[in-house]
Subunit: 356 residues, 2 copies
């Protein structure tokens, strides 16, 4: 059993032989037109599903297309229509669950809408890589750009480049640069963080410590805000948040420090990886979750339900986020008025925050 080569009996070979493909130049519309005995314009009509083509003619053209293995040259098409059918996506260059699933959702929605995505990842230092990626996108003729979950720096660069196409930010940036075409789509980070905090307080915690993500990330900022507001609303004291990175290793180190310096009754971690690291450090020192500390994370990444113990967390609607971003871009491309959108975040309660 050879994996391929027999599935479609003889077809590829037929095609090649019949067309006498020289492998030098791919067939053009003119080639198809000649073979079908029509003008290239008619071929164009058939390819683009225009109405006014006789069924018989259409058939002949389609046959010729199949025979030659013709494929429309999108570069030439883009040249004249000024529509490339390509959207650019700027995404942070990491394997984090959030950006990854947002990207996937975006790709899904884009394909649905007939677009293809080109990707640029953001590397440090953000400034250079962002500008470079943006320029490549623009040269390629992207019709719009989506920027996933960025930081202050990225936002600034996007503002400076002054892209002649719509740009949508998928993040909780609260202060968008005042440019016509830059808008935002976000998950309600603040509400999610507040819900997590309230849940911990309702569970009997007299105080909630926040282990925060890097504060140049908008999402991290918003989670701090939501947590603080919930604490204040409940009238409990607001301990200084512990700022760190996004990784489990960062969480582990903070966990060790808390063991040394004293454990709070409850911790709200800025993401699930941080929570994972915290639990690891605590486990090593006999601190039990939820018995000794209540814990909530953020993201609901795939493994979260299987951590030790299963982690209470905030689920974000990444698919909805991607779809909303595409809608935003679609509106902007059609010249309709755009508006910011926010998506719900949902608290998922598991064992890490519930005693008993």
């Amino acid at each position: 059993m050879t994996a391929a080569g027999e599935g479609a009996p003889g077809r590829p070979t037929d095609t090649e032989a019949a067309a006498g493909r020289t492998s030098a130049r791919p067939p053009s519309m003119a080639d198809v037109a000649q073979l079908a005995g029509v003008s290239h314009q008619t071929v164009s009509r058939v390819v683009n599903d225009h109405p006014s083509v006789l069924p018989a003619t259409r058939e002949r053209v389609l046959a010729a297309i199949a025979r030659l293995g013709y494929r429309r040259n999108d570069a030439a098409r883009a040249l004249v229509t000024r529509r490339s059918g390509v959207l650019g996506v700027l995404t942070p260059g990491g394997t984090a669950y959030g950006p990854t699933s947002t990207f996937l959702a975006l790709e899904d929605a884009a394909r649905e809408a007939g677009y293809v995505l080109v990707v640029g990842t953001l590397r440090l230092p953000h400034e250079d890589s962002t500008a470079a990626a943006l320029n490549r996108f623009l040269g390629l003729g992207v019709e719009g750009i989506a920027v996933i979950a960025p930081t202050e720096q990225v936002l600034r660069v996007v503002g400076e480049i002054d892209a002649p196409v719509p740009v949508v930010m998928l993040s909780s940036a609260t202060r968008l640069p005042d440019r016509r075409l830059v808008g935002g789509v976000a998950v309600a980070q603040r509400e999610g963080a507040a819900a997590a905090t309230r849940h911990l307080l309702a569970g009997g915690a007299s105080e909630v410590l926040h282990v925060a993500g890097p504060q140049d990330w908008f999402d991290a900022q918003e989670r701090v805000r939501g947590w603080r507001e919930a604490c204040q609303a409940a009238g409990v004291s607001v301990p200084a948040p512990v700022e760190t990175g996004w990784s489990a290793r960062d969480g582990y180190q903070v966990g060790l420090r808390l063991v040394r310096e004293g454990l709070p009754p409850a911790v709200f971690a800025a993401n699930d990886q941080l929570a994972l690291g915290l639990m690891h450090a605590w486990r090593e020192h006999g601190v039990r979750v939820p018995d000794d500390v209540l814990l909530v994370g953020f993201d609901d990444e795939p493994g979260a339900a299987h951590y030790a113990p299963p982690l209470t967390t905030v689920r974000q609607d990444f698919a909805g986020l991607g779809a909303a971003a595409m809608r935003y871009l679609a509106e902007a491309l059609e010249g309709r008025p755009t508006r910011r959108r926010a998506l719900a975040a949902e608290l998922v309660v598991r064992s890490s925050s519930v005693r008993g």
Copy 2:
């Protein structure tokens, strides 16, 4: 502090005003030429860094370019050069660590080489989405295609489409379709799996059970092979592998079953998520790792060092994989002979497989 709008004092506005940009049509080479008082050909030379342009002329042209905010139209360029500078990537549509980091590495290497990546994700049923993505890529004029970690189905479709550009498979497909331009780059899955198995046997296990991934995935197949070969080489019995999905949930269910039906002395899980699920199920039933069962995973995903207990696993060189794939494509594009490449997999020993 408004995040942007002040960083580059006045520049964007100057540009727009001076150029009197109508916002109707982006400036073309001809516009630049006229403003600089040279022919469009000279502008082209400047843009492409050709040698024979007087420094003075070059300056004038550059000034005109800056003034107009000119950007080369890659569609027109692609039309004549037959080089789009775009590569297509087909990737499974999930958030799994492996494909994600491979993709990132690919993007990195591609950018380094001056290429941009367009993405298509594979959805079920693979056949349709693969063919659709491939056709979009080809229409766009991609110069090469990389396919990440696919299944039998994907491989078959790629073979049928008969892409007129080089295709590289990033996976352990052992039986590649016999077409000139399809080659492979792979991590040594089999060796990694064998190393994991030997490690478990050396740790005192009389037998190693394999919890396998979906067998239409090449990587899953290879891990089974490596495990089986190591068992046979050691002269221990080879229990039937337990085939399941890739997720922690799948692992959890298998874990429960093993508790009911009897635990083996050691388990080699096809990836870290499966191992996570196994540990969860076992923990619920008082089964201790590594005291009661030894466990090894595969991937070394970010959280693995912080699981309970920290997970012994096989680290794959995803970055190397991406770079190797790009080298492969580069060779094929330049007409040099290509050759398959394999990258090392490294066993990372942590607590889950070491007693005491």
